[in-house]
Homo-oligomer: 297 residues x 2
């Protein structure tokens, strides 16, 4: 498929035969055209600065659709006023190369005003699942996520979309939204992809200094230890959470936002691990907020 | 098309070759099947107890789609706790006959738990347009409307949908939602259909006693008078509203909820009529709440 000559990076000299669409109306037309030919689009929504986690999701679309697509959009409405919207890492040229290598044919990469034009005022709220965990520290975050994801589904006309489980609460919020609003999109959730030493891949890892990068390993290590303790018979959620907290507190570079052990369906805190449960962590390592989670049962 | 033998009314003995679907999963399958054959569905969403207003919307779908459909669903989440949900008038057998005569092929008429199963928690908010007029007297009403309409669009996979302008704020809320969430549905707004004496058609008119029915005429008469005054050069919104109020107050059976003259786009109150404006009324006639509106400019 020919590249869209109106895209900025094209002028850099690179010739990448991936279609980049920046205008929402053009993306909608492309989607309608695909659908009228009975071709299914699969979408990996991203905020760009891609890593192997994103690319693994692109692979999960294989066999699920006729055209693999991604979106690159740093969604302003899911960031709080004191968060890292303005410094969120970006490298679209590299993203497009990675996506093309992963078999992606189309990328929807709009500027903010193509997504939120003047007068925009409609939001989607997943009222209960948006509240705990990250929701209680990032008010409005999941409202912003649910809203943009529904918009991306509608604009791209995707029939299948893939999300990572590193953002576990996000995955649950989207799953609930799709069910509640009867959105005709099949969801695929991919496992958290980790560096060889265990650190969950995240675009925000680029913020970490070498010392912070070393400290951040405590996050995954404490989760792995918790899963092992649970497998070995320790089903007391409070005790398991306390052990994770103790490990994290032993590192002065880490400041805990939350350590919670929750029911995997409702995301509400549990006392005893008797049904599917998840240990979830949010911490600051220096000024960088990182999250991770693991399935305990 | 063959009737669905699982529908209740079928057993009444009437043989109506209109397809009635009660299960959401079945409606979704039907929609997906239509789409896979490149056939477009047109939808008139209703709460049943149909009148000529609804049927005029069905006619507006002519030439806009391949299959004309309606939904009949008295949406509980758009009613407040003290409103008329439990006594809202219903007559599905008659509705189905009227729809069939109007060329409707499919009716989605689900029970409440097919629309809001246990665990439902996702709502759509059109934050600014949902606030004024009826919104300030019916908190949560337009949230309920926006949510159910989006669900109906998704379940039926409609490519076009028609709504009446009697519910002007509802029409504006839905138009905004569709634009903001990039919903791939074309909207058609039909004019308010009136009885020969001017009363706007409404399923709730059945609540009126003969005396109340006579009093209710003051609503449309005061709106017509306001439009005439505006045409004749009176552009002072406060004065026009005061004249409507005076007419309504002259009838002891009428209690005013609001009389507002608003910008047709933003629904905010205006002082001077210099661009598209609407006079909108909500009153109680006895215990029956009625609304009406008219284009002034």
């Amino acid at each position: 498929m020919q590249s869209d000559v109106s895209s900025d990076w094209y002028n850099s000299g690179a010739i990448i035969p991936i279609k980049v669409i920046r205008a929402t109306a053009e993306m909608s037309r492309y989607a309608a055209d695909l659908q009228s030919h009975g071709r299914r689009l699969g979408l990996v929504p991203t905020m760009g600065y891609l890593h192997k986690g994103h690319l693994s999701l692109m692979n999960l679309l294989d066999g699920q659709c006729d055209v693999k697509a991604a979106s690159i959009f740093v969604n302003p409405i899911q960031f709080g006023p004191s968060e890292d919207l303005s410094r969120y890492p970006r490298d679209e040229a590299r993203d497009l190369e990675l996506l093309e290598a992963a078999g992606c044919e189309v990328v929807y990469s709009p500027p903010p005003d193509e997504v939120y034009p003047p007068g925009f005022q409609t939001y989607v709220e997943v009222e209960e699942l948006q509240r705990p965990l990250c929701g209680s520290f990032r008010p409005g975050h999941f409202r912003g996520v649910a809203t943009v994801v529904l918009k991306l589904f509608n604009v791209t006309g995707c029939s299948v979309a893939a999300f990572g489980q590193k953002d576990f609460q996000q995955a649950m919020v989207i799953r609930r939204m799709v069910a509640d609003l009867n959105v005709p999109v099949k969801l695929i959730f991919g496992p958290t992809i980790r560096e060889s030493d265990g650190l969950a891949m995240s675009s925000r890892n680029v913020y970490l200094s070498p010392e912070e990068r070393a400290s951040a390993l405590t996050i995954s290590r404490s989760l792995f230890a918790s899963r092992e303790a649970c497998s070995a018979g320790d089903k007391n959620a409070r005790k398991l959470a306390a052990e994770i907290e103790k490990a994290l507190q032993s590192d002065s570079r880490i400041r805990i936002e939350y350590v919670d052990i929750v029911d995997s369906e409702t995301l509400t805190a549990i006392e005893k691990i008797a049904r599917p449960a998840r240990a979830a962590i949010a911490v600051y390592v220096g000024k960088t907020r990182l999250i991770d989670n693991i399935e305990l049962l």
